[in-house]
Symmetry: C2
Subunit: 379 residues, 2 copies
């Protein structure tokens, strides 16, 4: 049973219980529109990443603005999306194991389904499952373009794998997945351009080598919120997969833009509202959100509206605010807003988005309660 | 809607989908029995922490072996426990805000409910809520015994707060909460003994000062899995609140015992089963569990049964295994077991415990699927 929502529709902002995951609906909608416009301007397809939001409803909002479909990382996420009516889903990740591959093939009866492959070891299971369920799946060869995570080496190894895929019944070779994960968080534009430049060279050489053996890349996919402008303008990638742009987070706020200032084309639209539950000294307040309410894997959250206060020393259910440099001392019961350090795994801790209209104004109210239907979908 | 369980009752161990949160039922049951026996031997009450397991079923198992009740950190966790039939629950934490306090008071109609207080700012809300719901709550004064998180200062400040509690309708002053959180993870027994020795002195002085004004401490509570032997043998604490002992984790495994070896009275009984989903080089495998399947806040998980392999560089849905020192190279599709870095927040990522009987044997099978009913209970 999921937890109960921490608010009711129509509640005043102050009446939302804490900790709660809040969406500034106005900023969120501006972010959706900005990325849709960017993809149109660059002349590339947009397939936003549902690993961030885990919500069919948000995927539909993105598709209504022009996105071609959604991508996700797990078969169970694809199941949630298809169950929610999303009809074009790419699992931008390797899928291994007979049962998982059967679940993926079964989804192919209900939607257009794509998958990434970086090793021929899975081809027998894929051939059997697609035959059993009577489906054809799109298959992208994932190449390692510098992230040193998954992916076959670009060039000859990728070509050999693509040829085997093209010869596998039930699979249609659809192109390359060329995503550089770590480059998203390189702090300066120069570092990001250098990384994506190298990725471009490796990807282009692989496309050429595939063409030489008669294999065309219908899709060259990749890019995240940190680099989509670079891939989008490259003339090579034709499908962008950013996720975090809809909400942003404190980690992305550490990237800088071309002007040296913060990387802020997209607005912070996701917040965790917390309450000061203890204030043992004038220099220390304790809020009701620790590791179970914030994923601190990529740094701590930023405190909004309390200059100089720093969140640190989280434990499971507590976060300590260092007030030694704060401009004022919050009282017991005061509510504060935090910008999560890392949006995706923080969202995965909650069952509900609390959508707020008029965020930041005295009249802010709860307009929407959206279930995070893919929360916990790890298989 | 919670995720579907990753197995069915009776499934062979190998057929459990991944990532999955597994309980070695034999080790778990030995851990439960050991702690119950320890509390009997020390002559203290045991109130295990449900923040770890978030399961009324496990709380009942602990109470069947002699525990007096459960404790938890959040009102929403108390709601889950009471809904599951647990009739004695202490929220070992501050509760702030009118709505939360009303929810807590409402539970007082169905179970014996206790609360911790470290500031008189909450007393008006508590008086109003207990009157409205017609209940009496037990109140412990939380004192800061060295953890520098919540808690009023020991001594005079604690006495002043206790007197105000004793004068508040609907509250019964029941004693002190004297928990030293950070000491649980001090690595050597000497460090832990020193910290709890200091906590003992501060607590004993506060007990004496309370007695001097006619306030008796029925309960002196605290202690976790790292230090319960020290508090339990102190002659002062009379209620122990350990949580992690039922499962243990890789962080507690870094504590040493009196013999200088690992701190291992309690057995690892919690594992995350993962699958190798990519193996781009002989020195790098990628498993299907990252930040959304493992809480890496207190260090990375340990890889079981693959000597020399080290989990590192997790991203949201991936973990990289460094195989440069591994004794063998696992294949695509191979399943591995990880001991989570930190049990509590890892459990909070899952909807299901998969209980395995005969864990580690060729005949291991799924005996139980237990819902983690308090998962996500953060309010």
């Amino acid at each position: 049973m999921p937890t109960l929502p921490p608010a009711r529709i129509g509640d005043a902002f102050s009446d939302v219980d804490t900790p709660a995951l809040l969406v500034d609906l106005d900023a969120f909608e501006r972010n959706l529109a900005r990325m849709a416009e960017t993809a149109r301007r660059l002349g590339v397809r947009l397939r936003p990443h549902a690993k961030t939001h885990k919500s069919p409803l948000i995927a539909h909002r993105q598709m209504a603005l022009g996105a071609v479909g959604a991508c996700c990382q797990k078969v169970s996420e694809a199941e949630v999306l298809v169950r929610g009516g999303v009809d074009d889903v790419l699992v931008s990740n390797e899928v291994v194991g007979r049962r998982k591959i059967e679940r993926l093939a079964a989804l192919g009866r209900q939607a257009k389904i794509g998958i990434c492959i970086d090793n021929p070891a899975v081809l027998d299971d894929l051939a059997a499952a697609t035959q059993r369920f009577g489906v054809m799946l799109d298959a992208l060869v994932e190449i390692d373009v510098g992230g040193r995570r998954c992916g076959v080496a670009p060039g000859g190894d990728a070509v050999a794998l693509a040829r085997r895929i093209a010869a596998t019944p039930g699979l249609r070779f659809a192109g390359l997945q060329a995503y550089h994960g770590s480059a998203q968080h390189f702090r300066t534009p120069a570092e990001r351009r250098e990384a994506i430049g190298a990725a471009r060279a490796a990807t282009a050489a692989t496309v050429d080598a595939l063409r030489a053996v008669g294999l065309a890349c219908e899709t060259i996919g990749g890019a995240g919120t940190g680099t989509f402008e670079i891939e989008g303008a490259s003339g090579l990638w034709n499908e962008l997969q950013p996720g975090s742009y809809i909400f942003m987070d404190a980690d992305y706020a550490k990237n800088t833009g071309d002007d040296g200032g913060p990387f802020r084309t997209y607005e912070h639209a996701l917040f965790v509202k917390v309450t000061v539950m203890s204030r043992p000294t004038a220099e220390r307040a304790v809020v009701d959100a620790g590791h179970k309410a914030l994923s601190n894997d990529s740094g701590f959250p930023t405190v909004v509206g309390l200059a100089g206060a720093a969140y640190h020393r989280p434990s499971d259910e507590h976060g300590v605010l260092d007030l030694s440099k704060a401009t004022r001392v919050p009282g017991i019961g005061e509510q504060l807003l935090l910008i999560p350090g890392h949006c995706d795994p923080t969202i995965n801790l909650y069952d509900w988005y609390v959508g707020v209209r008029g965020f930041g104004t005295a009249d802010a109210y709860v307009e929407a309660l959206w279930p995070i239907e893919g929360r916990g979908a790890v298989t």
